[in-house]
């Protein structure tokens, strides 16, 4: 493997999209992340990251019909691409092997 691991925030985003299935668009992804990590992202940050992930090929997107609830603007629905799933599996594998055998993290006693 010579490509880099995806970053932590990219991992969060991809997982959020995966969890949301067909309903993954800006608002829901943001809420999902807030629920999971407790952190509120700004839309600017969110959007930049989503677009970058799409350009890198981890996500695909399509536009849903416009709705009046959104001021007549259409939703951009995101989906994981096979490459995205592969990337997630890789970080998971790496994560698990790095954390393997560590039961509880505490300051070692003298």
């Amino acid at each position: 493997m010579n490509t880099k691991f995806i970053s932590r925030s990219e991992e969060f985003l991809l997982l959020a999209v995966w969890r949301l299935k067909e309903n993954a668009y800006g608002v829901t992804i943001r809420n999902q992340i807030k629920e999971a990590t407790g952190k509120t992202w700004s839309y600017g940050a969110l959007f930049v990251m989503l677009c970058r992930l799409e350009k890198k090929g981890y996500l695909t997107s399509h536009f849903a019909d416009p709705s009046s609830q959104r001021g007549g603007k259409s939703k951009r629905i995101f989906q994981l691409s096979p490459q995205g799933i592969k990337a997630l599996k890789e970080v998971r594998k790496a994560q698990e092997s790095v954390w393997l055998g560590i039961e509880e993290l505490s300051v070692p006693q003298e």
């Binding site: 800006g26 839309y43 600017g44 940050a45 959007f47 536009f63 959104r70 001021g71």
Partner: protein, 863 residues
Amino acid sequence: MRIMMKKYRHPPRIAGWLIQRMFPDRGGCTILGDMIETYRDLADDKGLFWARIWFWGQCVKAFPYFLIDELYWRIHMFKNYILIAMRNLKKNSTYSLLNIIGLAVGMTAFILIALYVQYELSFDKYHENTDRIYRVIREGRAFTPAPLGQALEEKIPEVDSVARILRSSNALISHEQKHFLEEEFYWADPETFDIFSIPFIGGDPETALNDPSAIVLSQRTAKKYFGDTDPMGKMLTVSERYEFKVSGVFEDMPANSHFVMDAVVPYETYFQITTNDITSWRSNFSYTYFLLRKDADPEVMENKISPAIVIPLLKAAGIKGPYPKFYFIQPLTKIHLHSHLMQEIEPNNDIKYIILFSSIAFLILFIACINYMNLATARSLRRGKEVGMRKVVGAQKGQLIVQFLGESVAMAVLAMALSTMMVLMALRAFNNLVERQLSLNPIHNPQLSLGLVFITLFVGLFAGSYPAMRMSGFRPISVLSGAFTRSPKGSSLRNVLVLVQFSITIVLIICTIAVREQLKFIKTVDMGYSKEQIITLPVREGSIRQNIQSIKTELLQSSDIIAVSTSGRLPNNIDTFTSRDWTGRNPDEPIPIYYNTADYGFIDLFGMQIVQGRNFSRDFLSDEKGAFLVNETAVEVAEWESPIGRKFTHWRGDTGEIVGVVKDFHLHSLHSPIAPLYIFLDPRDFSNIAIKIRTANIPTTIDYVEGVMKKFSPSYPFSYSFFDEVFEQAYSTEQRMERVFGAFAILAIFIACLGLFGLTAFAAEQRTKEIGIRKVLGASDSKIFLLLSKEFIRWVLLANLIAWPIAYFAMNKWLENFTYRIHIGMAAFLISGGTALLIAYLTVSYQSLKSARTNPADSLRYE
């Protein structure tokens, strides 16, 4: 209520608009849609006010992400550009090397000349009041009379202070056992240190020269005599007679000054120890500098000098008007490059040469840029596919221009790095060439560092502009479909560039040849006197003058010495000058005439000819009382029918008869016409001894001469010169110019050849298939060779036609400086044209031969 609802549900318009601008996805609608959705939820939950604040907050927070994202993709693209540029560099390493070396050589030439020009322009600019310092001169002459200084100070209100200086080169200074001849020995008014900014290390500049027997030394001179001990208050002996006490030491004057002083003694002392009268307007051998009042107009001041000072004196002496303008002033900073008077302290440079060298620098840089353009456009076809691909995947023309300009700037940066190394290596040789001590020191020379950055950018952008415009304009369809091959438009432009390059090169070669021819002419032309086998000794000491008869006798005892003669001036530069009212002429119109004093042997030693009358001779006792020789020009100017036997008067008042007419010889350099001259027989008044020697045993002869001189003047350091070398020194500017032209012509040829080499290589490569097919169809190697070479050769030939008139005009202009000059023959043109052609031919033939010899099987294989 409904209307109210609708209104409050609209988020802030400006913030919305900003978001749309920053994230132009589907017209900025998706992110805005998301935000509106959350905004409305918030408005319901917490109220409209907080929702609006939130919306604005999101907008502000989004801004940094927008910036970072922009940068992210830029860097991403930039990485790609660099990658492609590196791949191109590697893949076409020959081409890249040619290109970088060409640019680097051009830049090196430019930097060297820029250093020189910068230095020459910096002369005398370091003085604090440099803008207000002026020098008073006379028409064509730098010397001014001694009383002028005081008169200026008293009668011209615009003058703040005045300093007179007077140079005695080769003053003998002794301290205990140390004797040195000081080249830069000056007699100067105390105000000198007030007008010029010369920082003192020891002593007080205000009072240092107040004592008539005070001497002020430069740091290096003080070190020479006193080593590391404190020089202040120590005694120095000048000319073995006069004691001076060191009253000050100043920092060495920078070399970019039109005069550099090493030892300074009070001006008035000169008049106390010589017979000259400080109040006499005939004491005409000082330089007068003054400080102009701050608000004064120099022109107004200049016009006041004659009416205020000279005209009253003339009126008092009964001389009637109209009076010419006697005195002129020149700004200090203009002296080094613009002043070409007789009696200058040091020979000055000429602004013409500075302009000439600068133009050469720009021309060479231009040639180098053309080279880059040429090679880059020629190669652009190869990168056509890259351009096509980039355009297909969405690159805009602007982006491509930026990419290619970036590449050429990167090339320029590499070239600049290389050229800095080249400059460091070449600087010593260049310093010898221009006789300066230049250094490449960007830290102490911020102008230079700025200049280097500017040149790099300029070269990168200028040289890259045309290829970038052209390449970015390729149409993807034609490039990618393969229909895009040699474009006649591109190649004609390349040919024009070759034409320009070679024209410039040929002009430079012609100039080199013409200057060389003129110098050869100077060396070989019959000057009217002989220069070979003569050594000359300058005479400074009284003991030599008193014992000259015994010295002559003793010298002649050596079998290697043929003749010895003494004279006031050597024949190559008789600058002593007077005006005589000659008998038979209108006494109100004195005619200027040069004069020399000489002994009996002068004419014979220098191989001059007497055309009328006789030489000075001991057989005629009357000669002893006063005898004159005049030259042919003098006879002509005086309109004498028979000059022999006429009464004539020496400037000191000695009278005598004209005994003969000497054939005209060049008493000045070939720049000026032969002037009227008289030679007065006076074996006691001389400053030079000329010794004609045999060519065998020259070192022993010189040792013998030194022995004789030492015997009569033990403390003076012995110095001599060969007369032909002295003679050539007068043309050092021209010699320097020849060398500079030669060096830069070679550089220009080198760069032009690099370009030509690259172009032929490219043309051959492009026509590989064509050549293969031609050969299969039966074309011979020589036919192919001709086919490939003739295209470039034709342009080089044409370049000759353009270059010849330009070079002819330029060189004629230069030769006008000489009264006696060559006329540029056809040979110079043919030789330079031939040289350029030959070199171009050799360059081209390497590639042409290579492709002509290729087996068509190989060249067609890639199909």
